[in-house]
Point group: C2
Chain length 757, copies 2
């Protein structure tokens, strides 16, 4: 294969393979969409409800993107000016600002597009899944929801790799007087902007979506189920459409943006750590490309017969993951054997002295370790959150003595569940470090995420099945339909556990790699952990995830309060609503959820974005490394604890509802477990997942500003640090005055004058 692009190839040849793979993903998305469009929609009521959900989700995303456009514009200008005035590359053409800025725009734009695409297909797919569950049975319904998930998966990886490859190529153009190797290195500098764009959108999408989905959920449940005593997903409840919209904007669009960011982040971190060596720079692109093709093959391996048992269904989904995992390793082995030849010159210092062929197989080892680590963390997550095992069952049993013991047991289980992922990641880091140093560690994250197309498909299919169930309930279809969708939904909980393993594992590995990349770029020789400035910054960093989790949880409470008041108002004022003779004003609830979740995303967003600026500029790069280290360590623990405790609470309740444990539904024990489930909602769907993005975003921002604070001594330019501090304070005061000062009072009486609906 003399044409294999390697050391001597031109930039366009280098990215040709990854572009080809991403185009294949595009074809796949087109084909899947066509397949989906051919599937029948439901009856009029179902279609109407589905359209309501779709329009609510579109309205939310439009509002969100509207607000984010200001953020993106501001940071585009900031980057443009900063890097034009103070260009980081020595062969500056005064285009550095434009380069970095356009990468930022591309990253933000594509991330937003991935979220939009996922949302669009999910809201269209839900009704078709319900219809399939009604008319054709479990297997067709699984295929329907699975197709929707796959569109999402391939959209994310396709857009991610395509955008990254194209921007990388464009960034190598029009340099003057630099060698090709230098071109590639400088191009990577700008690519950090792509990651920044992607992760900032991901953060806001996850936070706003997470607040939306849980505020609507809690609000709908507390008034509907508790106060009005009407069942879940009852169309009389004005917040029920908002609740279903929430599933789409939180679990689908939010997760899409999140994993888009992970996928491109891991590639950027690895390529940056290649220290300018062409072969090593291109390897993550090739692996990601191979992963897309393997995932496509994996998709076609999924499938099962009608009337399949739960076990068969799970096996069907697992088959896809296994096939693509094996294939990606086979493809990678070919890539390694073609790019690491006996005469390949590896020019990076860190890996000097290792024979190229041997290095190739060592790096292959890192990819294998990464892939297995992701699977193992997923297994551990499943152990702690599935009611097949002791931990979740112990929570259910704790319910016998009331809600307090459910909470204590759940938090205990969540905390102890940090142990296996930490041990797996520690082993991964130590193993990959032994094989391929820092570069090897970064590459293991690429390996972990390589089959993202198919793992994300099995992950995103869960919320689609959930929504399909909601539609069945609202449209008052046969009980049997709900049972089918419930089975699919339960399956989704298990596959989601695997997905979380990949999300958390890759977030930590990528952040650690970005941290190392930052240190190299900022020209810091060593960052001594016992240096008091570094230690102080590490404490500050360790505090940030706690602050972030607190703000997001308190926001859910506040936003839910707004919904509660509105739902109560409608029940009090709209005549005939409770009796089912009048229609609820769902749009109002959607509008309130949208408004309050977007208001609430601002403050955590400001703190996440500004923290690296404050510490990096006020003190210096060494302190920033300390801050990132502290944030990654405490953020990882908190993310795992919150996600797993939430998942375990959810399933401890399901154990009672599905298996009839400890007396079954309606008992005091069941009520106690419902309390756990409600506490778990913001844990697992708002704060927990957002923490993953927080640590990646802060690491990515640090990499972006690395050239600016390169070689700066502690406190050297502290006065510039006053600018981000001022922005943070002004932002906090503004948010406080605008939104927090008028806290809702859910204890206030409701005006009961009935209006004619």
């Amino acid at each position: 294969m003399s044409s294999w692009p390697s050391g001597g190839s031109s930039p366009i040849e280098l990215v040709s393979l990854s572009i080809a793979a991403s185009l294949m993903a595009g074809v796949m998305v087109y084909w899947l969409n066509a397949k989906l469009a051919a599937a029948p929609r439901g009856n009029d009521l179902m279609n109407k409800l589905s359209d309501q959900i779709a329009s609510g989700a579109r309205a939310f995303l439009k509002t969100e993107y509207y607000y984010l456009s200001f953020f993106v514009a501001a940071f585009f200008l900031f980057i443009l000016i900063l890097f034009t005035v103070d260009p980081p590359t020595p062969v500056a053409t005064r285009l550095d600002g434009l380069r970095m800025g356009s990468c930022f725009l591309a990253g933000a734009g594509l991330s937003a597009l991935a979220g939009w695409g996922g949302m669009a297909v999910a809201t269209d797919c839900n009704v078709r899944t319900t219809q399939a569950a009604d008319k054709d049975g479990r297997s067709t319904a699984l295929r329907g929801a699975g197709t929707g998930g796959a569109v999402m998966g391939f959209t994310v990886v396709g857009l991610g790799l395509f955008g990254l490859s194209i921007m990388f190529y464009l960034m190598t153009l029009n340099r003057m007087g630099s060698t090709q190797n230098e071109d590639l290195t400088y191009a990577l500098d700008s690519l950090a902007g792509f990651g920044f764009g992607a992760s900032s959108i991901a953060l806001f999408a996850r936070v706003a979506g997470g607040i939306y989905t849980k505020a609507a959920d809690v609000g709908a449940d507390l008034v509907g189920k508790v106060e009005m005593d009407i069942p879940e997903d009852d169309p009389r409840n004005p917040a029920v459409i908002a609740d279903n919209v929430g599933d789409n904007v939180g679990d689908v669009a939010g997760m899409g943006a999140d994993l888009f960011e992970s996928f491109v982040g891991s590639i950027i971190a690895t390529a940056t750590l290649a220290n300018g060596d062409t072969t090593l720079i291109m390897l993550p692109f090739f692996v990601a490309g191979a992963g897309i093709i393997a995932a496509i093959a994996g998709y076609f391996a999924v499938g099962c017969k009608d009337g399949a048992s739960q076990h068969d269904l799970l096996f069907a989904l697992h088959k896809g993951t296994i096939v693509s995992g094996i294939l990606v390793l086979a493809f990678t082995a070919i890539i390694i054997s073609q790019t690491f030849k006996a005469d390949t010159v590896i020019s990076t210092n860190e890996l000097l002295g290792i024979a190229p062929r041997s290095l190739g197989w060592r790096l292959f080892g890192c990819i294998v370790i990464g892939l297995f680590a992701g699977i193992l963390i997923g297994q551990a997550t499943e152990y702690f959150t599935s009611y097949t095992f002791w931990p979740t069952r112990s929570i259910t049993e704790a319910g016998v003595t009331g809600p307090a013991t459910v909470i204590i047991q759940g938090i205990g289980i969540g905390m102890i569940s940090t142990v296996p992922p930490v041990i797996i990641l520690v082993a991964t880091i130590l193993g990959c470090n032994a094989l391929g140093k820092g570069y090897g560690i970064a590459l293991s994250a690429v390996g972990m995420l390589s089959t993202l197309g198919v793992t994300l498909a099995t992950d995103a299919y869960g919320p689609i099945a959930d929504n399909a169930g909601g539609l069945a309930e609202m449209a008052e279809l046969d009980e049997r339909v709900r049972e089918t969708t419930d089975a699919l939904d339960a399956l989704g909980n298990t596959t989601a556990a695997t997905g979380k393993g990949f999300a958390i594992g890759s977030a930590v590995l990528t952040s650690l790699s970005l941290l190392t990349a930052f240190k190299v770029k900022a020209g810091v020789a060593t960052v001594d952990i016992t240096d008091p400035v570094v230690l102080a910054a590490a404490l500050f960093g360790a505090m940030l995830p706690f602050l972030f989790a607190a703000l997001t949880m308190l926001s859910v409470q506040k936003a839910a309060g707004c919904i509660i008041i509105e739902v109560r108002r409608q029940f009090a004022q709209i005549e005939g609503l409770r009796e089912g003779t009048a229609e609820a004003d769902s749009d109002k609830c959607v509008a309130i959820s949208t408004q309050s979740s977007i208001e609430e995303m601002i403050l955590p967003g400001i703190y996440a974005v500004m923290a690296p600026f404050i510490i990096g500029i006020l003190i210096g790069p060494k302190a920033l490394v300390g801050m990132l280290g502290g944030a990654i360590a405490s953020g990882m623990m908190l993310a795992i604890m919150m996600s797993n405790a939430g998942g375990a609470w959810d399933n401890s309740k399901k154990y009672i509802e599905i298996e009839g444990a400890v007396g079954g539904k309606g008992t005091e024990t069941h009520k106690a477990c419902v309390v756990g489930d409600t506490v778990g909602d913001p844990f697992k769907d708002t704060s927990g997942p957002a923490l993953n993005i927080l640590i990646k975003l802060m690491s990515m921002i640090s990499l972006v500003i690395a050239p600016i604070i390169e070689g700066v001594e502690d406190w050297e330019n502290w006065y510039y640090g006053l600018i981000p501090i001022a922005i943070t304070i002004i932002g906090s005061v503004y948010v406080y005055k605008m939104f927090w000062a008028n806290t809702v009072d859910i204890t206030a009486p409701v005006d009961g004058a009935k209006e004619s609906a």
Copy 2:
């Protein structure tokens, strides 16, 4: 003052001042005890109940110390052999093992003694306080409880400084061929053993005491209040004596051992960082001595009139703290002006080039900063946990929508409450680093704890007042008596907040100083935070507090389960118990609480003690520094979050009960807040405070083993690391087989055959 002991003095002269101060504390304890003995005890029933509590507490401590004696003996032998075979000092006399071992014994023994003394006086003082509240009124009762607290406070600081000074002097004896400066340095090496002994006892005492108190509390409440519908502290409840015993062994003995450890730990860390300079080694001893005298003066400043309002009472207590704070600064200023003269030679590298007099005042600055930081953290704690302020009130209001929102709001408040302490500590670290480098940071912790005698008195008085209230209830005294003790108890909650500020602040500063001291002693030049081995170890370290908190919380659940079954059994089998005609078998409950809390302390204890051995020996000193850094950062956040969330939940309930907020007692909102309070119990009284000791203990152990792993490269002696790993695994399996396999089933039916009581 030509006789002021400084650079040229002999070791006995050097410690003479601190020994004199600690003897003054001894005289004070003697006098206070005599005063207490003169106060009248109560009626026969009160005395009987008080004796029951005292004998229960003695039984627990005896059992605990019995088990700990094996641990102490094992580690004494281990230290003896290890340091005899491989003596760390170059002028070895083959006595290094004996020196270190005897320091370890002294530290462990004195810590145990401090706990015992505190427990003895508290269990004697409770009945006298009840009596005073009955016969003499609020002021006398306050003085009674305060005297008990003061005995505790002065016992801790007196024993601590005395033991440390004497052992320090003894360790300087019988060296051969070393200079006096070398003698002092080697003596400090052995003194790390003293800290190890103190902190291991503290850990076990805090964990076992914390599990005991909360298991008895939860067990008594769940069966008594919920199932049997009898009031709190009702003598018919068989677990009520155990509950009161718990307050003494957990909140008094546990806290005594905890702060004993903080006090000596901060002195050891500072002296070790003096790098062999006599003036700097002695400064923390002098400051601690000055603090004792200032605290004695502060004690005499406390006092108020009868019929004093809550506000007056609080002011009375604050007066003591303020007077002693001002005095300790005045004394320290005199010490500084006498020891740092123009011709004083400061020989440590870190602080070279600063004129001695200027250095003296800089270090004075560190002490001032430390003292204020402690007070500020206490203020922040009060803000987040007192129902006078927004955070706790917001939890109460969240109760309107049920227990789930109470939990979410409480955890959110707990998490956000990490922000102020972190900012205060970051400022302290940066400020003291600028003034006096690592030594200055360590010294700020000594300053923070210097007035411990009086702060601990106001802290320990709370549980005594609580117990006095319990006695009033059990002995069915007038409602008025309970009101008086409740007022004292509420006051105790506020002063406890201040105490927590000192505990957490000093724990973090001391641990960070021990970390630095370890690095110096282990001969590690720099520990780069981006070194993958260090990073991996930091993740492992950050996980440990989560594991530790999880184990302690799950243990409370399990131990409470044992109590629940026993209480149910007694109500079912003892005829006439419910009706009040037969007596409950309280001793059985005390025995069960004792047994299960001691069983449950083993596993967290093993992990805490073994973790530094595993990482330090398996990998090496650099990884150990990383592990400690991760553990301190995440442990601090978790400790603050758990303590403050617990305190806020407690007071959100009290806000309803005392102030009648949101509808008052007995409403659904009140019930929701009771759930929060129950969740908060293990948060604030078991896991939270134990985390402080965890990080100090691990740092202290590292300092002890520093000479063994000095200069070891990563993985150089990994095979030795298999030994601690094997011990950990064997210990886990043993504990699992012995105690965990026979998990109690609280859902099992109770055998109802009545026995004649």
